[in-house]
Each structure stands twice: as C-alpha cells, then as structure tokens.
C-alpha cells in the first residue's frame, strides 16, 4: 500500500464514495437468486425414473387385448358335446369393431365381444365347423390375472397330446364376462385356456384348454440399461471421504515419500460429489433358473465439483509433476474470494459384466443380487489438475488413467415380470479399482458411485 500523500487522499475520498442503485437492481438480484434456487439439482432424476417406469408399463400393456371374454357360443344342446377335435357344429365369430363410450368391460350376455385397445369388438355369429387346427385362429388368450393355483384343481387326470384339446367343466367362479388367463407350465408343454363354452345367455359351461408345445424361450434377452446416482472421489482415507483435495500434480508420489522436499505454496480446492449417470444396452443369458449373466455397453458420465477462481485465457507454464513442465493455453486461478463451482466431467464408454443371482422364488416380484466387473475407457474429460507451486488449475487429460476397472454390486427388483417387458430396478454401488490419475502422478484417488440402476428388458425369455 502506498504511503504517498496523494494516494492517501485518493483512498480517503474514494473509499467512502456511495451511489444509490436503481430500484430495479434489487429486483434483478432477487429474480436471479430465486430462479437459481428453483433449479434444484437432480430434480429431473425422479421424473426420469418415473417416466421410465410408466413407459415400461405402457409398453408392456399396449397392443394387446386387455380383457378378452373369448366366448364360443354353442346351442343349448351342446352341453353334452363331444370333444372338439372331432368335427362338430359350433358358432364361431368374426370381429366387427364398434366404438363405444360404455364401459367396455361390462358384458352383454347375448352379444359376444372382445375388448381390444379399449374398444369393444362385437362378434358376429355364423355357422362354421371347427377343428383342432382352427384353434390357432381363435382370439388370443385372456389377459386377466393368472390363477395357476386354482387352475391346478381343474386339471384332468390324463393330459392331452400336444395340440390336443381338453374340455374342463367350469368349477371355479367366473366373473361375468371375464375368464382368467391360465398358463400352466408342464414338463412337456404349456396348458392354455383358449376359450370358454357358454350357453346363449352367456353362462359359462366349460373351459377349453389346449396343450401347446412349450416354447423353448430363447435364453437371451435384451435390455435398455440406465443408471443414475452420485459419484464421489475416495482417496483411501475414510476421514476425508467427503472432501478429498484436487490432486496437486507438482507433488509426485516420490516427493511425498521424502518429507520436506516440496512444500506447496497453495492449497487446492476440495472435490465434492456430483451426478453420475449411464445409458446403454445389455444382453442377458439365462444360465439356470437361478443364475443369469449379462454384458452391456454403456456411455457413462461422472461429474465431480471443485471450486476455482477465474478462467484466464492466456498461456502459462505449469509444473506437471513427473511429466516436467507443461505449456497451457488457458487455466483457472486459485482465488478464495472468487471461487466459482467447476464441474469436472468425465466421459467413459464402459462394458459391465454382471452375474445375476435370484434370491427369492416368488413370481410376482423376483429379486436378484447382482455382482460384476466393469471395464471403462475414458473418452474425454474436462477435469482440472492443480499446480501447487503457482496456484493454477489446468486441464491435461494425459494425466488421467485412460482405462478403468471396477467392481459393482446391487440388487434388482423385477417389476412387470409376467409381461414381455419386465423392468429391473434397484440400488447399485460401484467402486473403481483403478486410480483416477496415472500411478506415477497419484496412487490414491478413485471413483465410487452409488445410485439406482434400471433395466428395461425388451423381450422376456420366460416362456409364456
């Protein structure tokens, strides 16, 4: 500070200079402050997850008959009818679409119909003979809730041959207009109820089953894979788990081993956790009823936050540790009064290999424990390193470990398991074994992530 008389007078006069701001100044500040607060971080995350869940649900329930009271009308005499495999006269139906504003799920007894896409399709009647081969042309099986346990009570002593028809008198209560879907899994086939025989008043008389060849069900299934959570940098010390420091590149591991060789003049910012997310595709292979394995290809982005001073767009020479000195075109200052938040962004392409182990036997909500390894390759990064000798943050991707290996674990709860689009959702944690920086720079810091993993399978490999 100058002690000259002139400077003293200037300082005295100008230090107390006051001007009145316009009224709009505070309004602008307040607008920006409140606006800033409204942009809550990760607000979109639950929305994204909700959207994915809803999307999965819609996909799994679209394009199918929601309720198909697949009804074959017979004449009154048909109560004692012979097996359908021997030709006989019954009344079959053609589908006539008719839009209706009425509740489509209310059946009118003498007007058979099926419901598709929330529209009522009136079935016209005409005389026609039907054979076993015609069965395939009947409307699709019902989509009401499965009731395998009750259906088991209806099973005949001798099962039909594959493709054979089995009539079973109605024993279980039938909700008006609705015949529960029954898919019974046998060793040699799958028993589906394909129709119900009702009299003209719509009263169900018999259920008609067909034993179809059990679909081998491809053991492969494909999924859209998404992950979202937080990532933190762990430097091996639990005490500083929440606030490890940006690596001072000027301090090399060999220097830290010799105390006192280097005393940094400046202290770098801490690193705060940030958002981690990945999106990609996966393919899963069933190994057994309990085990399956999946492999994927994902884009992964990890974000951590540190605080830096202003950006300077001019060249500078920085201490690049074991790599000598580096000429940088731009850098960030270390300035405690001007420390804006900086996002260190890491872009990876990764290949996760995961073993899924089923830990329950329930069909409604299967639960899996997942464990695996992940290999990832760095595509690009905006991360900053620190030079403690000059107090400068700078970018140099060559200091980063380009290939990262990690281990992962988590649980998945399978929603919509009975549909063609089961949704696996559950917590997942991951720790990279590889360090963020190359070993000659730093051997301590690596990424750990915790978040929610969602897999939407596009094809269920469970035979229906």
């Amino acid at each position: 500070m100058s002690d000259h008389k002139f400077e003293k007078q200037v300082r005295q006069k100008l230090n107390n200079l006051t001007l009145t701001p316009s009224a709009s100044a505070w309004v602008n500040i307040e607008d920006r402050l409140r606006g800033h607060r409204r942009r809550a971080p990760f607000l979109w995350l639950p929305l994204l997850l909700a959207g994915m869940v809803a999307g999965g649900y819609l996909i799994s329930h679209s394009g199918k008959s929601t309720l198909v009271p697949k009804t074959t009308l017979i004449e009154n005499k048909a109560i004692g009818m012979s097996p359908l495999a021997t030709k006989q006269k019954i009344i079959s139906h053609k589908i006539i679409e008719k839009k209706t504003a009425n509740d489509p799920f209310v059946q009118t007894p003498d007007t058979p119909f099926l419901i598709k896409n929330n529209k009522r399709h009136i079935l016209s009647t005409e005389d026609q003979t039907i054979s076993a081969s015609d069965i395939n042309n009947l409307p699709a099986p019902l989509q009401a809730e499965s009731d395998n346990d009750r259906a088991a009570e209806l099973l005949p002593a001798g099962l039909p041959e594959i493709g054979g028809i089995q009539e079973i008198p109605v024993k279980m209560p039938v909700i008006a207009g609705e015949i529960p879907k029954i898919n019974i899994n046998f060793g040699k086939g799958l028993l589906n109820n394909i129709s119900s025989i009702v009299d003209k008043t719509g009263v169900p008389l018999k259920n008609v089953f067909i034993l179809s060849k059990k679909s081998s069900g491809s053991k492969w299934s494909y999924a859209i894979d998404a992950y979202s959570g937080i990532v933190a940098v762990y430097d091996g010390r639990l005490a500083s788990f929440h606030k490890p420091q940006v690596e001072d590149i000027a301090i090399t591991p060999s220097q830290t081993a010799i105390a006192g060789i280097y005393a940094p003049q400046y202290k770098p910012s801490t690193i705060s956790p940030g958002l981690a997310f990945s999106v990609g595709a996966a393919v899963k292979r069933e190994l057994s009823r309990r085990f399956s394995v999946s492999i994927g290809l994902n884009y992964l982005q990890l974000n951590t936050r540190s605080r830096v001073g202003e950006r300077v767009n001019s060249s500078n020479v920085v201490n690049n540790g074991t790599r000598g000195y580096l000429y940088v075109q731009s850098y960030y200052r270390l300035d405690p009064t001007e420390n804006a938040e900086y996002k260190n962004r890491y872009h990876f392409i990764e290949v996760p290999l995961t073993l899924h182990t089923r830990i329950n036997s329930g069909e409604k909500l299967p639960v899996y424990w997942n464990a695996g390894v992940v290999m990832s390759r760095l595509l690009n990064s905006s991360s900053l390193h620190f030079d403690g000798t000059t107090g400068v943050y700078y970018k140099n991707d060559r200091l980063l470990n380009q290939t990262q290996a990690g281990v992962s674990t988590g649980f998945s709860f399978v929603l919509f398991n009975k549909t063609s689009y089961p949704l696996w959702i559950g917590p997942s944690a991951r720790s990279n074994i590889s360090t963020i920086l190359k070993k000659d720079i730093s051997a301590s810091k690596h990424f750990v992530t915790l978040g929610l993993n969602v897999k939407l399978f596009l094809k269920n490999n469970v035979a229906q």
Binding site: M1, L17, T18, A25, N339
Partner: protein, 186 residues
C-alpha cells in the same frame, strides 16, 4: 440484527436478511463498481453480479475479517472479470500500451469532490483505471495486481506510474477550473 446473525440468516437463504445486507452495502459497493467501469449501467450490472456471488457463497465467509472487506473483494474481482469479459472494455484493457504518458512524482492535494475524482479516474484508459484503482484505492501491491490481471509486476508498476501522471495532470487542470469557477461565481 448483528453481522453474525445476518450472515447466518443469509446462509439459510432468508430473503429479508438478504435484503438487509443489500441495503447496508449496496450504495458503497456501487461506488466501488462505479470506479472500475465507464457507465452507471455497467456499474449496476457489476454490482448485481457481485451480490449474486455474495449470496451464493456467503457460507464461505468465516468471520475472520470484516464482512464489508470480504464483500468489497468480491465486488472488485467481479468488476475485473466483467472488464475482461466485456467486449467494450477488452480492447481498452491492453497492458502493453506504449503511449508515453507523463510520469509524475508530485503529491498534489486532492481538493475536489469524491464523485468528481471518480469521474476523472473513469476517463483514464481502462488498463490505467484498473491498476490505479487496485493500487491506490484497494491497496494491492504490484505483485498482487500482476497475479490478478495476469501481467508481470513491472508492467503493473509502469502502468500505474503513467496512470498517476496522467491523473495528476488532469487533476491540476480540474483544480484550476475550480478556482476559476469559484472566482467567477462566488
């Protein structure tokens, strides 16, 4: 509300506390911003930006110094960033100007009003204006100014000497006008 409580309330994001802090410091800080810019509108822009930074980072104020000093440092840094980022100022912010402005070792009395003095400083080329403000008013050393502006210490020193010389010339001229005005219109 004492300073400690005011800061704590601001950390919580309480609008009334933020308003109180603004009311307390805005006039003084606009005066600071005014000295670094060329127009009142720019000065207000800088002040607004500065207060936003203050409110977003006030949790970093550790009560180790005066709140006013901390706020002032943020305002000054914001003003310098503004000059660097604003095209109107960038061209005028060169520190490698070889113009041979007079250098003066005089220590004349400053007998004009603070606002007039600020207006004269604002007429300096932006580079001179910035270094003069940082050295003469804020009290930074030339080493610190070099770091802040990304120039070396010698450049800061020579730029300041020229700024000072030019300012003294203008001040003497202004003082003569003062005397004339005083004589004509007693």
């Amino acid at each position: 509300m004492d300073v400690q409580r005011l800061v704590k309330e601001c950390i919580k994001g309480r609008p009334e506390a933020q308003r109180q802090l603004y009311d307390e410091f805005s006039e003084l800080m606009l005066g600071v911003c005014y000295r670094y810019t060329k127009s009142q509108m720019d000065a207000e822009d800088v002040m607004q930006e500065g207060f936003i930074k203050i409110f977003r980072n006030i949790n970093q104020f550790k009560f180790e110094g005066e709140l006013g000093g901390w706020i002032r440092r943020i305002m000054v840094n914001t003003a310098i960033n503004y000059l660097k980022q604003n095209r109107h100022y960038q061209s005028d912010l060169s520190f490698f100007d070889n113009s041979m402005h007079p250098v003066s070792d005089d220590n004349p009395d400053v007998k004009i009003l603070a606002s007039d003095l600020a207006d004269i400083i604002r007429q300096l080329p932006t580079g001179y204006q910035t270094i003069f403000n940082l050295y003469a008013v804020e009290g930074y050393t030339h080493v610190e100014i070099g770091k802040i502006l990304g120039i070396n210490e010698g450049t800061s020193r020579s730029q300041y000497a020229r700024a000072r010389g030019l300012l003294i010339t203008w001040l003497e001229k202004k003082s003569r006008e003062y005397k004339i005005n005083t004589y004509v219109r007693p």
